[in-house]
Subunit: 440 residues, 2 copies
Amino acid sequence: MSNTNLLNETHNPALISWVESANVENCDFPIQNLPFASFKRKGSTEDFRAGVAIGDQVIDLKALFALNIFTGDAQLSLEQCCHSQLNAFMSMGKQFWSALRQTLSQALTQGSPFQEKLATCLVAQADIEYALPCQIGDYTDFYTSIHHATSVGIKFRPDNPLLPNYKWVPIGYHGRSSSIEVSGSDFKRPKGQTKAPTATEPSFGPCKRLDYEMEVGIFIGNGNDLGEPINIENAEDHVFGMCLFNDWSARDIQGWEYQPLGPFLSKSFASTVSPWIVTSEALAPYRVQWTRDEADPQPLPYLESQQNRELGSLDLNLQVLIETETMRNAGQDAVQLSQSNFKDSYWTVAQMVAHHTVNGCNLRSGDMFGSGTQSGPNPEEAGSMLELSNAGSEPIKLPNGETRTFLEDGDCVIMKGWCKKDGAARIGFGEVNATILAAD
Amino acid sequence: MSNTNLLNETHNPALISWVESANVENCDFPIQNLPFASFKRKGSTEDFRAGVAIGDQVIDLKALFALNIFTGDAQLSLEQCCHSQLNAFMSMGKQFWSALRQTLSQALTQGSPFQEKLATCLVAQADIEYALPCQIGDYTDFYTSIHHATSVGIKFRPDNPLLPNYKWVPIGYHGRSSSIEVSGSDFKRPKGQTKAPTATEPSFGPCKRLDYEMEVGIFIGNGNDLGEPINIENAEDHVFGMCLFNDWSARDIQGWEYQPLGPFLSKSFASTVSPWIVTSEALAPYRVQWTRDEADPQPLPYLESQQNRELGSLDLNLQVLIETETMRNAGQDAVQLSQSNFKDSYWTVAQMVAHHTVNGCNLRSGDMFGSGTQSGPNPEEAGSMLELSNAGSEPIKLPNGETRTFLEDGDCVIMKGWCKKDGAARIGFGEVNATILAAD
């Protein structure tokens, strides 16, 4: 399958919307994007419902459904978008996702006869607040960046950084769903047990090595029944879309607790998603070849497909920025800590889906995968502070003279993501941010 | 606090019910028990709703609510028991759980004026089927048996069986919620990657070392807000009750995948709970002293309380039985593989709750903890086949001449639990069972 087969009129970079803000250069939400969120007007008593971003506006899909101007699968889709969470729509499958996208694309294109009516459904993004886009039944965190796995491995296991299973198994583990919140949800620095290497006993107190992890969140649309694995050939049909994901990590708690059963309290205090789910279909132009070094083991057959080889990776730029309290008080802009790209992932989304279900495990609509921290091959592409500060031994210098080894109270971490290339519209993810509050 | 303070008239062993089957010796569900499940008539199109077991019957709480014969907190509780899952009732808290228990106890006692009306709400357990009792948002698996941790540790890490954190941290990890099913849900043997110690590369195929784990399931009633830890002093107020839990495990998949982030596909193919939740209140007579060897580290302050010392453990007998296909075909009864007791757990339920939330993690109503495999101090008290067969090296001999190192297709594993002592009514948990089907 070639990438052009995955493209349709909704991807046409020449499309222009009657919503003028969508046509501005470097806009995250041009008419070729059309991502989904759950929203309501700020501070209102309205119910949350689904919206689609266009420029600096959001289309209220519940209001659009009530207008009854769409027909067929698009209108059936809208009906499921009236709920406070997107799960019902996400579970409908690709046919319905595509139908709604196509209809919205046409209706938002300059010259559409629907302009006047659709305009009544627009709400300014500046005036809204978000909820989690869907109920996340189970959240699984993968570990797909070999660069991250290697550099973190060195810190936890200097003699054995990359374990023998890494190049065979798309390593993942179960995460905590209850503490996943949407961008803007600040949280208190966690407390817990830690033990310094030289200490004879652990102690209890606020985390001293609080970190972020730059990840991609991957949302399952329609799931599978228990005992019925999803074949890699069909795996992508089950993926509704993606978001930005900050998998906050308490490194000192992690180091003491994680053996033998994995990270637990070092992760479960907070995780943060961006509000907008960018659909798989919107990302089609940015699919790229997935390669595996010939010197490395080639995937076992259940992780191998022609489509995965040809188009399994995604050219998605990921950026981490920090705004310290000092910067905020001085009115200074956030500064970049790193930039990396999801295409450097050792495993693809299709491989994650196929692996996750190969034992018969069922995925449900709204389940989320974290991609694992996306660090690139170069040191400055590291997706965590642990890596950037070399486990705290090399302080990161910020432009205002401050330094960081790990996060301090008042620090706001901001993550952005975008796809951009010649011949295709830029697709933005918006951002995810949250600020560290002092421990009680 | 003494144990007698926790007891009330509902625990009186002299109580006799007008439901005669509840008064039979060794009945799991006497009037002093009153556990909750979600049920409907077998094969019917009825909605699932909550029921309480009494003898060989179940009281349909939706029907009882409709009778409108109870008042106050008990009737308010019944209203929340009309849903297909117990979460709403579980979230109401101890005051409501106790009110309903007390009222049901009185109404089911011999001579109650409610007998005639309540009798119209009884359905024979033989005629019903069960659903999961509640929506399990997040499932956490602990590792509280030091005997299990040590004997399993020897097999995975011969040089380092019990890690240095074990005696300080109530080790736990996130599990998979979607694949938790209720007793009787058979499942296919999982497939996955495994690597023999002598092999140079992993291979793919059906699990060859399929195992069970005898655990206690612990259900959270009312949860906590993110960032607001539950103090150990209040921890037990958040626990609605307990069930039996089989945490099926694919040992060969586990051995290859579990480092560094913990078990994943080796667990997520299936987990099975017993249908009945025995409430914390029903278990009050069986609370016993929790002790920590003086030679061992004493708990950090956040894991320490007088009540936990005095009454933190639970004298709950746990039994594992097997019925092979050959036994079933020959009409032979299941035979015991092991018996252990939850009182041998190194950590208590209150410590699990306090630890889980100390970092600010929020628990939600219906969340479940697995206790971890409950193995006792003696080899025959091992709660998994891995331990009983010494990692497959010493086949277990069954009375009919069959042997087992791990589970074979057609094997049905049955787990039972009960509390029993002089001066208190016996409290049974019913059973959890499921049969291994052949891999596709």
